[in-house]
């Protein structure tokens, strides 16, 4: 097979880790949302879990509106954690190998009970402060990367498209600024 060297070089620059792990992972994320939607009619987003779970411990009126959905949202989130753990125990641990998966070189790998786990190098203050902004922003903005980005864009919702463009643009500017200030990782 003869491949265009210019296209190959461009692909190598834009996608240094290939595209298959991203495409396969994205299809699975979409499939998870589809399974829930087909069975229940619910377009599931991940960020409402924050408010709905707070309704267990807070009497604030803002959280009480989520009492009806809080139980299944806990199960959904538990599923996400366990699904990622299943990934760690199989593909990340090398028990299952596939040419579609590019392992990557970020963070630190460590092992517990034969399972290869991974932890980030990104500094704790970035995670904490970023988390606070994410928590405030998704709740004011009515959605996050799964609610707006996957379910909303999938529904061709104009609100969600505007939401995604807004947070994507601001996130790019923020990340570039933080990097320009020499903060790494």
């Amino acid at each position: 097979m003869v491949a265009d060297p210019v296209a190959l070089q461009l692909a190598a620059e834009l996608f240094p880790n290939g595209i298959s792990r991203y495409a396969v992972g994205g299809l699975l994320v979409g499939l998870g949302a589809v399974v829930i939607y087909v069975g229940t009619g619910i377009p599931a987003g991940a960020s409402t879990f924050l408010e709905s779970t707070l309704s267990y411990v807070s009497e604030q009126s803002r959280f009480q509106q989520y009492v009806a959905s809080r139980d299944w949202r806990v199960v959904f989130t538990l599923g996400i954690v366990l699904g990622a753990l299943a990934f760690a125990a199989t593909v990340q641990s090398g028990v299952v190998t596939t040419s579609l998966y590019e392992p990557g070189t970020t963070g630190e790998l460590y092992e517990i009970g034969g399972v290869t786990l991974w932890t980030t190098d990104v500094q704790a203050w970035r995670l904490l402060v970023g988390g606070v902004f994410v928590g405030i922003g998704t709740r004011i903005g009515k959605g996050c990367t799964s609610g707006h980005g996957v379910c909303g864009v999938g529904s061709a919702s104009k609100t969600s498209l505007v939401g995604v463009l807004t947070f994507l643009t601001v996130a790019i500017v923020t990340a570039q600024l933080v990097a320009a200030l020499g903060v790494s990782p």
Binding site: A33, G39, R62, L117, T119, G130, G131, I140, S155
Partner: protein, 153 residues
């Protein structure tokens, strides 16, 4: 939504979450560094995750309402996910963007990150709960949320 749910409701939610979380792990969206590399234009792979997922879910959102009236486990009507647009979408989106750009984490990916062993992500999850709590307290107290929108940046 009725109180007595179908016995398969919770198992199905769990299975959906498992696939969702496995996908977030496989795509490495559970790694904040990979998200930050995307935002810094070093690796555009994240586009395939978001659009790949949106295309798959979009097919279901388009097809299911034509095939059936209501979902088997809830009896809820199949509807598209449409939320009303107002300036909160822009304000909230911008605040979320600052957080996403600073940390490389978003809610779903943060839960998945815990699953791949990233204990440090508890900082981010704590932060998200704190942020959601602060926002909820504020919303509960302010009867007219549109009257206080300063400090959006």
């Amino acid at each position: 939504m009725s109180e007595d749910r179908h016995p398969l409701f919770m198992p199905l939610i769990l299975v959906g979450g498992l696939i969702f979380g496995f996908g977030l792990g496989f795509s490495q969206m559970a790694r904040p560094e990979v998200v930050l590399h995307f935002l810094q234009f070093e690796d555009f792979g994240l586009l395939f995750v978001m659009f790949g997922a949106a295309i798959v879910s979009g097919i279901a959102f388009a097809v299911m309402p034509r095939v059936r009236d209501s979902a088997p486990l809830t009896g809820d009507r199949y509807e598209r996910r449409l939320k009303p647009f107002d300036r909160n979408v822009l304000i909230g989106g911008a605040i979320f963007g600052v957080g996403w750009g600073l940390s490389g984490i978003c809610p779903g990916a943060a839960y998945a990150s815990l699953g791949v062993g990233n204990v440090a992500i508890l900082w981010a999850i704590s932060g998200m709960f704190l942020g959601a709590y602060l926002q909820g307290r504020w919303r509960s107290r302010v009867s007219n949320p549109d009257s206080v929108t300063a400090g959006a940046d």
